[in-house]
Symmetry: C2
Subunit: 462 residues, 2 copies
């Protein structure tokens, strides 16, 4: 199979401009947001309807060509890297918000709609779409569903899964199928919808989603506290939870991240602090005021060196920038930035952060850590240079050690970035043989020819 | 295979008293809470550990004996009726709350723990387990997970699925496997946990669950409004949602239910009302006060004939009794009570209630309707007599008409009771051929011998 073969075969299905086959056009579709992973596809296609997706998949099946679906390629586990070559099926022309239903608090959108646009459409109607992955200004909702993306509001509002009511998917044989309904309660058969959420394009291709919305919280306040000792920050988080408070976000930056962010964004962070907590409360104004006052008191009781409550929305945005810019700030330091994504039960988080520090020392690699303290989701960020082979070996050893530490603490190898290629070597260890085999069984049932995003999550025995 | 064969074969695995084989002992395990469905099992076994469950399943597989798992048999779709004979595996001796983890807001419990005990254990720790199926004082958490049970708090708090972080299951080959972790965020592989939730014992047997808890809301207030016209009640609900208010419960009773409940529980309901809304708000005290005041105003603007806000907890309980006793009150009227469970998008609810009234008239059957107005989940309750063959034919026609009306309105054949036997004839119509075949494919993959709760949800082609 050659690129001209693909153009010839799909020319009657897709417009000429919706098929890319020139090498220079293919390069951008060979990688995603994950460092060091690249492959070149045979061709890239841009269907403009579910029917076209179906036709492409049917053809690919007959021609036995792998199909990797993707949106805007912001993934952080290599999920859309076309490791087996074949077609990249890019859904970003399926970019229509189909319906916002105010009576039923739902929004229906095609897979290629940018997450931020879902949020904005809901917001304009006085409603709220909570999942806010770091990439939401670029990432598409189809990608979010494929990865079950999280974000900063996970503690209070959950993740993408918690907002997907229904979806349209194209199966491996090209058939089109609707899963779920507009009903909040629906127990008619196994929840295949939930099976597809987080399946990383390996079971089918999600072309449209129906999402649940919430009323927009009427108030929101932001607070930033700095600590000279990380254990005090951790104790503060425990005290907040013990007080029955569930903040909308509860984020953490370590010393290296603080220094970097300050250097980059000039937020006014004390660069000698060992930990920063960024906390947002939202809801009814009186509830938010009480929560913020209570949180401020708890921070001070746990030896916070400074506590700043944003006076207005502008200051809140400035404080939130400290966290939102962490990755960009860190990425400036070294040529290669590897964003880890382990998660542990909340009570293990302080110990896990110390594990990461010890691992960085032991393997002589630079690691800055930030993440979602409230839901135990850490992003140890390794600053390195992929051209330095010796250092990359140490980086690999450090990543393995981080993942093993998370597993030893009852955690998961990936909280929100997915398995893709990056976490494939560790999955069996987390799941155990019985569950791991079940995953493979599901894959074989749904995609018997193994053509949908092959080589991701796990390898299949021949 | 005879009952003595079973006793002989499992005698080394289970205590003698944990195997029932006498006909009079088997009868109670031949039915659940669903009217008119009964079968007799070959034997009933009561394992006391996951290992014993595994041993029983392994033996059953070798002996090719069907296994129907169940808890306390409160199901409302016939899910635990042993239609193919074989073993009933009753999990109610697995009744231990293993751990309540305050730091991580989780509770780990064996499958046979009664739902109310989960709620009470959380409550005693200042925490909150929201799912509250009508049967929660008797039903077990394993059954709730198997059916993905809902309840009265679904609008604000979701259903059982939204609280299951992890589980231990025994698969069809007897292997024991853990799904999910204690992490709120976990995207390591397909969510098999979600596939098992609501799978009605057909894919494996859930032996232990790890549940998420919330902080207990600090305030709760209850309000009861009566309406002379059902449309006004529906308009009130729409206005509440449009105002950005999500009450904890938002329940509805129709005229016949009101009359019955008043006759039974003497709550002081006006028996000439056409609709009653029972509304509970919970959360921060100031938020609750604002919500209740706003809701009261909206009720009055939409021509409520009376609005009663409970002055204290005792009065709130009395008002809530009106809704909680609906089923028991109705069940006194005729020998057989069939509780339907269709759900439609919220905006279709008033029309759906009128559909049900027209269907009752057309088929000359008595139907009283109550349910969860907030999440579109209706329980049209058919009052009949299963000994009257002619009437039962009319009842069957009415049920079919109700289910078809729900589907025509974009709804589901079951909101919270499951498919089991009762909804099996309608499932394919809701899902369409492609999804329906996928369900069968999943079943065949997980249970190739078809021995786990056979004949439920769908039939398999030979």
């Amino acid at each position: 199979m050659t690129a001209p073969d693909v153009r010839h075969a799909l020319g009657s299905t897709l417009a000429d401009a919706d098929i890319l086959t020139e090498i220079e056009d293919l390069i951008p579709y060979g990688f995603d947001g994950t460092a060091t992973l690249k492959e070149r596809p045979l061709a890239v296609v841009f269907p403009r309807s579910t029917k076209q997706v179906s036709a492409v998949v049917k053809w690919a099946r007959e021609a036995r060509v792998p199909v990797v679906s993707r949106g805007n390629g912001t993934g952080l586990s290599g999920g859309s890297v076309p490791v087996a070559g074949g077609l990249v099926l890019c859904l970003n022309h399926l970019d229509r918000i189909v319906e916002l239903d105010r009576a039923n608090l739902t929004i229906r959108a095609q897979a290629g709609v940018v997450t931020q646009d879902i949020f904005a459409a809901a917001d304009a109607a006085g409603l709220f779409y909570p999942p806010d992955p770091g990439s939401m200004k670029i990432s598409t909702i189809g990608g979010n569903v494929a990865e079950n993306s999280g974000g900063l509001r996970g503690l209070k509002y959950g993740v993408t899964r918690d907002y997907v009511l229904g979806m349209e998917v194209v199966l491996a044989d090209g058939s089109i199928c609707r899963l779920g309904t507009a009903c909040v309660k629906d127990v008619a058969g196994y929840s295949l919808r939930d099976l597809f959420i987080g399946s990383e394009g390996t079971l089918g291709i999600v072309t449209e989603v129906l999402l649940k919305l919430l009323p927009r919280p009427t108030a929101r306040r932001t607070l930033l506290a700095t600590f000279a000792a990380m254990d005090e920050a951790a104790a503060t988080v425990s005290a907040i939870i013990a007080a029955g408070i569930v903040p909308c976000t509860l984020e953490f930056l370590d010393r290296r991240t603080i220094q970097c962010v300050e250097d980059f964004a000039h937020v006014g962070l004390p660069t000698d602090a060992e930990a920063v907590l960024l906390i947002e409360a939202d809801g009814h104004p009186a509830a938010v005021d009480d929560e913020v006052a209570h949180i401020e008191k708890l921070c001070r009781e746990h030896a916070a060196t400074t506590v700043r409550v944003a006076a207005d929305a502008a200051e809140a945005t400035r404080l939130a920038t400290a966290r939102r810019s962490a990755f960009s700030a860190l990425a400036r330091l070294r040529p290669t930035t590897i964003l880890e994504d382990v998660t542990v039960p909340r009570s293990e988080l302080a110990a896990m952060i110390r594990d990461v520090e010890a691992i960085a020392l032991k393997h002589d690699v630079q690691i800055a850590t930030f993440g979602h303290f409230g839901d135990g989701n850490l992003h140890p960020t390794i600053l390195t240079d992929e051209r330095d082979t010796a250092e990359m070996h140490r980086v690999e050893a450090a990543i393995t050690a981080i993942v093993e530490a998370a597993l030893a603490r009852g955690g998961t190898i990936t909280g929100e970035h997915g398995v893709g290629l990056a976490k494939k070597p560790f999955l069996r260890r987390q799941l155990g043989d019985a569950s791991y085999s079940l995953l493979q069984l599901v894959k074989r049932s749904f995609d018997p020819d193994g053509l949908l995003n092959p080589g991701k999550i796990f390898d299949l025995p021949a």
